[in-house]
């Protein structure tokens, strides 16, 4: 525990709280469908670039909070986030070395997986949301990644 890369624990908690709040801040009607999944992006950043061993637990807990905030089936975001956090942690050494645009593509894939798991659970639990707009945040999320990760790495990743 002596020398951990990335952000300190309280800072990460703060970041996750902020990203959770960012998912419920009211936006103008036009922007609302574009809102990226900030929690997933933050979790990915924590797992990819700051490589915390606790990433999975963090993903699970923030997924649970996300479900509670949005009034969804408890555990669906938790499962999806744990899954992508696992992949991100497994591949972190490789992904870290990628140029930023390349990273964005990987993030796109992971967000897609995340959304697919949610979509699938929605369907299984009998509240399917089949509107195509649900996939838009995946694209905007991948587009947000370079900026968000640069910002976080610049200001939040301190030892």
């Amino acid at each position: 525990m002596a020398r951990r890369g990335g952000a300190s624990a309280p800072l990460i908690a703060l970041l996750l709280a902020a990203s959770l709040a960012a998912t419920v801040v009211p936006l103008p009607d036009l922007l609302e469908p574009l809102r990226p999944n900030f929690v997933a992006l933050t979790i990915l950043w924590v797992c990819l670039l700051s490589a915390r061993a606790t990433g999975l637990l963090l993903a699970w807990m923030s997924g649970l909070m996300l479900d509670a905030l949005h009034g969804l089936l408890l555990g669906q975001n938790a499962l999806a986030l744990v899954l992508i956090a696992y992949i991100a942690l497994k591949m972190r050494l490789r992904i870290r070395a990628f140029p930023v645009l390349h990273q964005s593509m990987v993030v796109l894939g992971l967000l897609l997986l995340n959304e697919f798991v949610l979509f699938w659970i929605d369907g299984l639990s009998g509240h399917p949301v089949t509107a195509w707009t649900r996939w838009v945040p995946v694209l905007t999320g991948a587009a947000t990644w370079p900026f968000l990760s640069a910002f976080l790495t610049r200001y939040a990743a301190r030892t």
Partner: protein, 383 residues
């Protein structure tokens, strides 16, 4: 400490139990939670705690908006206040005028109901709950309000606004509650066409300005501009409250059912607050004499009795008056059953113009004809 380490502190290896093990454990926990949540009743306590934990987020996000609202209220100018005052005075005058008429009607109604020992199912008590300005899932029509079980809010409670039925409570935490709007695609509300008394079900489409009445037969008497009121079947919503106004009637000769679009009267996307109401939804026990044939214990379903045969089959699919939450998904005889035999009987007199309702409903109502005819005589004097 080597200089290289100083530049990059990111560890190459992770400590603790293996990643795969964590994944399996956490994934299994998530799945277990979902299964338990799907079965609802196991997780009410967890839900309650989580909603308490989520409330600060909702509150913090809402705070700047409510502060703004408060500030704009506090800084309103004299002229706007005067203007508003004038407008309200006019509105008040008009309302009083209508009220005069209603007073007489209400008394008459009361008298008639007493005559047949029915229950007065009107909103008896209400609290005003503020809607927190937070965006939930954009694909679902739900809102969070700032009243919870501490204030007596319960799951299934009806929410109204000043102009119509708004929705019902789907989850109640200690300090906040989630309300599903009538326009949510998973919500269906039993309604009645005010002009004709025909009963049907209005389902949401997922867009705020729209409802669909999909279970009306092709020859149903319905026209644009008809007022749609709640019928009170199912016991969630009090009968007789305005729900929507019919906007378009699409008659396709090749389809057995009409496709009717309606516009909700409640200001679903603009309301700053809603009223959560308590009403006496006591089910009227049929008189001892009328009981045997009056209330067949196994009525087909709550809505089916007075609908045309084609409809009752269709209407049996969505669980009336319940958002199709996991437990209630699909045909739910359990939810509709207890209300089924009794409510149609209580209804014609309680909501809408009773006369035409009874006559119109009588021919198609095979199994429940005794109900309808039984309800008709006491309602007669109204005409």
């Amino acid at each position: 400490m080597s200089p290289i380490q100083d530049q990059d502190h990111r560890p190459l290896l992770l400590a603790g139990p293996s990643l795969g093990l964590r994944l399996v454990v956490l994934g299994a926990m998530a799945i277990a939670l979902m299964v338990a949540d799907q079965r609802q009743q196991y997780l009410t306590v967890v839900r309650a705690w989580l909603s308490v934990a989520a409330y600060p987020f909702h509150w913090a996000v809402d705070a700047p908006f409510s502060a703004l609202r408060y500030a704009s209220d506090a800084l309103a100018t004299r002229s706007t206040l005067q203007e508003e005052n004038e407008r309200l005075a006019v509105e008040n005058r008009e309302l009083k005028l209508t009220l005069m008429r209603f007073d007489a009607l209400e008394q008459e109604n009361h008298r008639l109901r007493e005559a047949r020992a029915g229950s007065a199912r009107v909103a008896a008590r209400s609290i005003v709950a503020e809607i927190l300005k937070v965006d939930l899932d954009p694909n679902r029509q739900r809102v969070i309000v700032n009243k919870g079980t501490r204030d007596g809010v319960f799951v299934g409670q009806a929410a109204l606004d000043a102009s119509g039925v708004f929705g019902q409570v789907t989850r109640a935490g200690p300090v906040s509650a989630e309300v599903i709007l009538i326009s949510d695609p998973e919500h269906a509300i039993p309604v009645q066409i005010n002009r004709t008394g025909a009963r049907t079900i209005a389902v949401g489409l997922g867009q705020t300005g729209q409802l669909l009445l999909p279970y009306l037969p092709r020859n149903a008497d319905i026209a644009e501009g008809d007022l749609v009121v709640s019928s009170g079947l199912g016991g969630v919503f009090p009968p007789g409250y305005p729900v929507a106004r019919v906007a378009e009637v699409h008659r396709d000769p090749s389809e057995p059912l009409l496709s009717v679009g309606a516009i909700p009267l409640a200001q679903l996307d603009r309301d700053p607050e809603v009223m959560l109401i308590w009403f006496d939804n006591r089910i009227v026990e049929p008189d001892a004499g009328a009981a045997p044939e009056g209330a067949p214990p196994a009525a087909p379903d709550a809505g089916g009795g007075t609908l045309a045969p084609a409809e009752s089959r269709a209407a049996a699919e969505p669980a009336p008056a319940t958002p199709t939450t996991p437990a209630a998904a699909g045909p739910s005889p359990a939810a509709a059953g207890p209300d089924g035999p009794d409510t149609p009987q209580a209804d014609p007199a309680a909501a809408g113009p009773p006369g035409p309702d009874a006559t119109q409903a009588a021919p198609p109502a095979g199994p429940q004809r005794p109900d309808v005819t039984q309800a008709a005589p006491p309602a007669g004097p109204v005409q």
